[in-house]
Every structure is written in structure tokens, then in C-alpha cells.
């Protein structure tokens, strides 16, 4: 009887730990690779939209490494993140590739064309900061934090 009670105790403790861990698990980062989808989601969630114009043909794994960084991941949770590849060879429709569509979009939205480029838009679709190019991790974190509303 005492043995059974002990095992029950363990089960309860383990269940409680699991429940606690479950509760503290942080919000997921929301990623998109389509501008319109990201924009709609950002509006729906009342979050700012971070757009990253990037290339598959990038010479380094710079953006991948940034997005895997713990500190950056923490800040990214305040955004809807949309990563747009400007050299994606997949067809968007019968006329153009996803890459050429994203490239046109970058030229139109930013009037600049280079990758990587980070830019933050509010829920109304207005740019709220100047775009940021290839920079040290610390600068990217500062830039992202500048786009996090104060209540967060």
C-alpha cells in the first residue's frame, strides 16, 4: 500500500512538472513566405510585420543563423515574420517565378534592391523603420526591438 502511494506521488509530481513546462512554453514564431499572407496574419494578430528579403543564393548562411539565434528568436515572437526569397525559381503563376515577384515587390515597396534586407511594417502596412541590411547580430536585435510596441 505504501509502495503504491509512493508511485502515485511520483506520477503526480511528474504530471505537475509536465503541466508547468507546458504552461511556460513560449509563443511560437509565425513565419510566412508570402507577403499577402503575412500581411493578413499580422493585421489579424495585431502584430507588426517583419519582412526579410533574402536569397537562396546567398553566399553565407547569415539569415538562417540569425533566425536560429536564441535572443533573436525571443524578439521575433512579437512579429509576424515573412521571409521573401528574391531568387526563388518556383513558378508563382504561369508568367513569373516567385523570385521575380518578390524582387518586383521589394523594388516597389522599398525602392532599393539588395538582400538581405530587414524591414518592419505596422498593421496598417506602413514602414515604421528604415530598412536594415547585413549587420552584426546585436544591431539586428536593436533594430527588431525598435519595432516592438512598448506594451510588450
Amino acid at each position: 500500500m505504501k509502495k503504491e502511494l509512493n508511485s502515485m506521488k511520483y506520477i503526480v509530481i511528474i504530471t505537475m512538472i509536465c503541466f508547468f513546462l507546458g504552461c511556460t512554453e513560449k509563443e511560437e514564431i509565425i513565419y510566412f513566405n508570402d507577403f499577402e499572407e503575412g500581411k493578413v496574419k499580422a493585421e489579424e494578430m495585431n502584430k507588426n510585420l517583419l519582412i526579410i528579403f533574402d536569397l537562396y543564393g546567398s553566399s553565407t548562411n547569415y539569415v538562417d543563423e540569425l533566425l536560429e539565434n536564441k535572443e533573436i528568436k525571443k524578439v521575433l515572437k512579437s512579429f509576424v515574420v515573412t521571409r521573401l526569397m528574391c531568387d526563388d525559381r518556383k513558378m508563382k503563376d504561369s508568367i513569373q517565378t516567385v523570385g521575380s515577384y518578390n524582387s518586383d515587390l521589394q523594388r516597389k515597396l522599398m525602392n532599393q534592391y539588395y538582400q538581405p534586407m530587414f524591414c518592419i511594417f505596422n498593421t496598417s502596412g506602413d514602414k515604421i523603420a528604415k530598412p536594415l541590411g547585413y549587420s552584426k547580430k546585436e544591431l539586428v536585435i536593436d533594430y527588431l526591438k525598435s519595432g516592438v510596441p512598448p506594451q510588450e
Partner: protein, 232 residues
Amino acid sequence: MLLKEKEKKTTPPKKKGNSFHQEEHSISHWIPKPDWIPSLNKDGDIILQQEVGDNKESLQKFLQGSQWESQVDDLWNNRSHKGGSHVTLPESNYSNAFNYGIKHSEEFPLDQRSRLKNYNCYHFAINGVWGKPIYNGQYSFGDYRMDAESAQEVLNKFFKRTYSQKAIFGETIIGTNYSGGFPMHFMVYGGRDNAGNIYVLQKYGETDPPSINRLIEEKLQEYKFFNEKGAK
């Protein structure tokens, strides 16, 4: 076609200044003249296709300052007329890299989402212009996935900015896609054709094999040309 383009000769715009900044926006301005078009044969050798009006002198000019400069006589005398008149450049660090890319396509899957990675553009361009092995089963100078800062450092230390008109076939690095002040892509100058199109030798991304392409100029991008310090 080439003849037609040649007939469309126009007077080139007069140069107003002499700054790199102005030059960056005028790399298309080119006095039409006979030139050669670089490409690859099935073995990865670099071939130069003869255009209308091309002769030994234009070949000499095209290869001036390059590792093939002294071989112009032989190249001209041994030119082939099969599939259009052309000369085949002898084996080089570039042709070895092109050849490897063609023969080992499994290492260069072209699939943009592939996790299989290879050497990058910085490695290709820097080793290329230095005449070192790029990739022939083994790498040589530096990190084969050199980062942007290190690539910029090599430029600062060993190269100097030049005008596109002073670019040398196989010897001039072109830095482009400047983001945060760093060139995100390096290419090697591969000459201009009759119509003024620039050709480049490059390794695009990590999954593509090295290739020779016509440069599609992007108006909103900078193109900076660099010759090795001491180059003519």
C-alpha cells in the same frame, strides 16, 4: 543577329566626370567594337566565340592582362570553326572548377532548398583571380565558405577599386548586392560582347555549380570593380 547589332552603332555618351560613383551608373555605356563571347564547352573549358569583325588584335585586347595574354598567337592559329569560330582557352584553375562542376553534378544539386552545400562566391572569385585551385576535389586558399567581412578584408588589403573599362578578363573581381556596406556577391569579369553586355564567371549560391553568365544589370544595385594592387 550579331551583324545587325553591330550596325546599330551609336555614339557613346560623353563622360561628364571621372568618379567611381558616376561610373557605377554607366557600366552599360560601351563603345561598340568587335569582341568575343565567353562560354563553356561540355568539358568545362572556356571558349571564346568570335563575333563579326573579331580578329587576332581584338583577341589580344580581350585577353590583355589575363593569364592567357601570352598565348594569343597559339590560340588564334588553333581556333576552331566547328559550331562557329571560336578559341578554346587552355586548362586553368577556372576550367578545372567548371569541369569538376559538370562531372560531379551530384555535388551541385541546383535545388535551392538542398542542404547539400558547397563553396561560395567569395572563395570562387578570390581563388580564381589569384590563379589558385578553386575546386578540383580540394580547396586551397582560405575558408571555402568565407564570410562577407573576410571577403571585404581581402579586397581592402590586396585589391583596389577600378573602372569597369579597366576590367581584365579572369582577373577583376566585381562586388555587388551591397547590404549593410558589404558585398553579398562576388563575380569575376568575363569580358564584354559586341553589344556591350558584360559576362561573368561566378559561383552563385552554394548549391549551383560555377558558371559563365551574361550579367543582368539591376538598376538599384551597385557594381564595384576591383583589380589586384599592382595590376595595369
